[in-house]
Each structure stands twice: as structure tokens, then as C-alpha cells.
């Protein structure tokens, strides 16, 4: 479904991503792991267009999407959440998700219809799916950090993506919030027929839900393989797992 081939990104002389490779098949849950500064977030930003690659190719469903702007990549069926909470602070929870739903339906530019009556059912259905329905009318900026992270996922779902990219979905969450968010991700993948690509620091989580794990080190791909194989790999142990 998604193929990342030899992608590179430089920040000045620093190689943030150095010929990274990644394959995501339809229906999989793929994790990207690696120490801080390994280039995971940069890689995600390259895939979804926030950054433009300096080399390599990114192919989604057989189509070259390398270097397209984010809004075009989103229209192709890739939605994402961000590591640092990235929501619409002054809008309500409901409106946050509705903006994405309206965009997905190509209605963002309608000038004389009344927004608050549009896509209400679909938006509420998404809020129920992530468990935020009771907070629909609250201003998003006033939610707890954990709820904001979950709201991020709901916004991403508003575009009915085929591939959902989650950048550290549980960062900064309490253990209880983390557990319920992981359960949420697992459930979403099953019920909504989603393919998920995520990165995460908590190894327990990664090995419990991923079908395939890609290990990044200093911008490079060390290996991409099923969890068992990754755990057994010598190079990975030295670079990363061994340190814990």
C-alpha cells in the first residue's frame, strides 16, 4: 500500500533521514521505532508532505506522492495525528472533527450554507468511536492532554483515511490513558478496516500490537520485520533494545 524507497532529508549538513525504506501492506499495523533523534517524526513528515524529501521516492497505492503538499496527500487517503498536540484550540471538540469531515466531503468552500447543521451525524459518530461524545460542545483548548491526543485521532478519522499515521499517539499520557488509547487504536484498525503506521517509545506497546516493526537508527532503516525477528536481531539489540 505504502512504499518508502531510499528517502533522504537534510537539515543543513545533518542527515535527519538517510535512505530510509519502509513498506506498509494493506490491513497491517506497522510500528517505527528508534532512539530519540532517529528520524521517525521527520520520516512521517516526509510521507504526509509537511517536509519535502531531498531524495528517494514515496509511493502510495501505486502512485508517486513524493513532495506533494499535505492537503493533496490527505485527499489521496492518508491522514495523520501529530506528536505535539495539534488541534484547533478555539473551536469546540465537535467543530474540530467537523472541519475534517467537511473537508473530506469537499464542502469546505461552501459560503452560504449553515455549518452547524452539516455532517452532524457523521461527526458525532466519530466522537462516539473515540469516546469524546460527552465533550462535544467543550472548547478543544480546555480539554485534558489525554483527551486532546484522542481528539487528534478523531480529526484524522474525519477524512476517512485508508492509511492512518499516528506520531507517538500516547506521548505524555498517564498509564491508564495509554492503555485505553492502545485499545482504541486496536479497535479502530479492526472495525474501520484501517491500515495503521505509528511510532512509539513504549516497547511493550509496540511489540503487543504491531504486525511489522521498522527500526530506525541515525536516519537509516536497520531492519523491517515481524516483532519476533526484530527482537532476535543482533544489530537492533546493540543499537537500541540492548540499551534498556
Amino acid at each position: 500500500m505504502l512504499r518508502v524507497e531510499g528517502v533522504e532529508k537534510y537539515f543543513g549538513d545533518f542527515k535527519a533521514v538517510d535512505r530510509a525504506n519502509l513498506v506498509v501492506e494493506r490491513g497491517e499495523i506497522v510500528a517505527v521505532i528508534g532512539p530519540n533523534g532517529a528520524g521517525k517524526t521527520t520520516l512521517f513528515n516526509l510521507i504526509t508532505g509537511q517536509l519535502k524529501p531531498d531524495g528517494g521516492r514515496i509511493v502510495f497505492k501505486g502512485e508517486d506522492i513524493t513532495g506533494l503538499p499535505p492537503y493533496k496527500i490527505c485527499k489521496k487517503g492518508i491522514a495523520r495525528s501529530f506528536q505535539i498536540v495539534n488541534i484547533f484550540h478555539r473551536l469546540t471538540v465537535f467543530e474540530n472533527v467537523q472541519v475534517a469531515v467537511l473537508s473530506h466531503r469537499g464542502k469546505s468552500s461552501r459560503l452560504l450554507e449553515t455549518a452547524r447543521r452539516m455532517a452532524v451525524r457523521e461527526t458525532m459518530e466519530l466522537l462516539e468511536a473515540v469516546g469524546l461524545q460527552d465533550k462535544a460542545s467543550e472548547i478543544a483548548g480546555t480539554l485534558s492532554h489525554g483527551d486532546q491526543k484522542v481528539l487528534e485521532i478523531a480529526i484524522a478519522l474525519g477524512n476517512e483515511p485508508e492509511l492512518l499515521i499516528l506520531d507517538e499517539p500516547t506521548a505524555g499520557m498517564s498509564p491508564e490513558e495509554t492503555a485505553s488509547t492502545i485499545e482504541l487504536i486496536r479497535r479502530l484498525a479492526e472495525t474501520r478496516d484501517l491500515t495503521i503506521l505509528f511510532c512509539e517509545h513504549d516497547m511493550e506497546i509496540v511489540f503487543s500490537i504491531a504486525n511489522s516493526i521498522m527500526v530506525m537508527h541515525q536516519g537509516r532503516t536497520l531492519i523491517q520485520a515481524p516483532p519476533g525477528e526484530v527482537r532476535a536481531n543482533k544489530e537492533v539489540q546493540e543499537a537500541y533494545l540492548g540499551g534498556e
Binding site: C74, F88, A100, S108, A115, S137
Partner: protein
């Protein structure tokens, strides 16, 4: 962020009714001041579409007001075209100018957007200010012939009020439309908005074109009221004043800029009688505003008296499930 109580439309009707009666009870001078407030209020409302709803640093909005006014003035004085052509051309010329200047500005972010707009806008001001043979230079254009039906103060008052009501209705629809909601989302977080599939620059540019169109409408109304134009309409000081009206009235509320325009125009008029140092007073107001009313007068009142303006969304949502 709007007040959507059941008293909303009745109170609007009462206010409009009162405004219709005013010219019969008020002296001429006050009628004129209120008409001037209407014109300025529309200008401030149009600016707020980009500033309050769009989060853009539209620092030189006066230029589009001036372009609208000068377009009408030039067509009425230099051609034999009917008045309605001139009235239609004003807003269109303003919107085209908005498209051109905005097209450059949306490529930049935040402060750079504002700086570029001030530079490009000042360029237009300089042309108007210097081109004596065409625009009359710093003398402006006076004694612009008006059609009979708006030649008296009273009739122009009603004309301005009618255009204002229609414009405000349209702006109200726009800010509550999917376009307006998406615009607010861009204000809050352009990066996220682009990631949900919105072409942010195009959306911002569309908002600028709409805002500058209504600034042009305000420019036309100014000519209807004054019968003259002068380069100060395009000067950055006026743009700053209008910006302050938005902040003062409450830039996160729909009607805030009207209140801001009323306060500033009244102060300028009545303080101006006693002192030449009007801008000094304006500066002091700005300082108080920043420290004590960061969301403006209207924003302050709404927080104080309407703490639950959003309750309806949940009701509707629950209803939709059931």
C-alpha cells in the same frame, strides 16, 4: 462563538427599527455621525473576517476601502457611465486589488504577511497621493455628483443602512458557513488544517477577496455620505484605526467590530472638538485595551454574561443520535 439565543433576531429587529427612526429625531450632525459609524462599522467587520476569523495580519485594509471609494469617485466624475455601474465597480475593483496584494501576502506567514501588505498598500497610496492629473493628488476629488435618490443626508442615511444590513447578513452567513468554520480552523492551526485536506493558501486568499470586496462596499458608502474622496482613506493610519476597532470591539465576536467602530468614531468626533491630540487618546485606549480587555469590549461582555454559548451543539448532537 456567536450568541445564538432565542432573543437574537427579535433584538436585531428592535435595533433596526430604532435606527430607522433616528433621522427624524436626531439633529443633522448626529445623523451624519451615525451614518459615518455605519460605514466604518462595515469596514471594520470586513477587516475582522481576515483578522478575527482568519487570523491573518491584514495590516493595510484601508487601501481596499480607498480603492473602492476612488473607483466610484473617478467613474462618476470622469465618465458618463450610470451611477449603478460606478457603485458596482467600487467593490469589484477593491476585490481585484485584494486578489493581487493578497496573492503575494498569503505566500508569507504572520508578521511578514503584514509587512508585505503595508509595503504594497503604501505603494498604492503613494500613486494616489502623487498622480495629480488623475486622482487629484493630495487634494482628492470633491463635489462628486450623486444620483437624486441619495442626494440628501436623510436618503443617503437610509441607503447606507440598507446596504449595511444586507452586507452584515451576508457576512454573518459566511462566518457561519463551512467556509467560515474552516477559516477559523486555519486561524487556530494552519498546519493541522492542511493535514485534513484544506488548501490553506487558497482558502486564505478567498477570505481576503471577500473581505476586500466588503471594504470596497464601505468605500462606496463613504462616497455616498461625503461626496468626496482624499488620499487619507488609503493611509496606513486609517488601517491602524480600523484594526484597533476590531481589537477594541472584540475580534472573536461577530458584532464586536461594530461596537469598536462606534466607540472610535464617536471618540474621534467628540474628543476632536476639544483637542488636536486625538491620536494620543487613541494610544492610551490601546494600552488599556491590551492590559484589561484582551478580547475586546464585546468579548468581555459575552464572557461575563453568556457563559454557556455552546450548549446547543451537544443537544443537537444527542438529538441526532436518538
Amino acid at each position: 462563538m456567536q450568541w445564538r439565543g432565542k432573543w437574537q433576531w427579535p433584538s436585531v429587529a428592535v435595533i433596526v427599527g430604532l435606527l430607522l427612526l433616528l433621522p427624524f429625531v436626531l439633529p443633522r450632525f448626529y445623523t451624519y455621525i451615525i451614518a459615518l459609524i455605519f460605514v466604518t462599522a462595515l469596514l471594520a467587520m470586513s477587516l475582522n473576517l481576515t483578522v478575527g476569523y482568519g487570523g491573518m495580519f491584514q495590516f493595510h485594509h484601508g487601501v481596499f476601502y480607498g480603492v473602492g471609494a476612488y473607483t466610484v469617485a473617478l467613474i462618476l466624475t470622469k465618465t458618463k457611465l450610470p451611477a449603478w455601474v460606478a457603485f458596482a465597480a467600487g467593490p469589484v475593483a477593491a476585490a481585484i486589488t485584494g486578489l493581487l496584494i493578497g496573492g503575494f501576502c498569503v505566500r508569507l506567514t504572520r508578521l511578514y504577511f503584514g509587512m508585505l501588505q503595508i509595503s504594497l498598500g503604501s505603494l498604492i497610496w503613494a500613486i494616489v497621493f502623487r498622480w495629480y492629473s488623475f486622482t487629484g493628488g493630495d487634494d482628492g476629488i470633491h463635489g462628486i455628483p450623486m444620483p437624486d435618490f441619495i442626494s440628501s443626508l436623510k436618503s443617503s442615511y437610509y441607503f447606507i443602512l440598507a446596504v449595511l444590513i444586507v452586507s452584515l447578513y451576508l457576512l454573518y452567513r459566511i462566518v457561519n458557513s463551512p467556509f467560515g468554520r474552516t477559516l477559523q480552523a486555519i486561524r487556530d492551526n494552519p498546519e493541522r488544517c492542511e493535514a485534513v485536506g484544506v488548501n490553506v493558501r487558497r482558502h486564505q486568499l478567498a477570505a481576503i477577496v471577500i473581505a476586500t470586496f466588503f471594504a470596497g462596499v464601505a468605500g462606496v458608502l463613504f462616497v455616498v455620505l461625503e461626496g468626496s474622496v482624499f488620499p487619507d482613506l488609503l493611509f496606513w493610519v486609517l488601517s491602524l484605526e480600523v484594526f484597533i476597532m476590531c481589537l477594541l470591539g472584540g475580534w472573536f465576536t461577530f458584532a464586536g467590530p461594530i461596537l469598536g467602530a462606534a466607540i472610535i468614531v464617536s471618540l474621534r468626533t467628540f474628543v476632536g472638538i476639544y483637542t488636536e491630540y486625538w491620536t494620543l487618546i487613541l494610544g492610551v485606549i490601546l494600552i488599556f485595551l491590551i492590559f484589561f480587555l484582551p478580547e475586546g469590549v464585546m468579548g468581555f461582555l459575552m464572557k461575563r454574561f453568556a457563559p454557556q454559548p455552546k450548549a446547543q451543539v451537544a443537544e443537537r448532537g444527542n438529538h441526532a443520535q436518538g
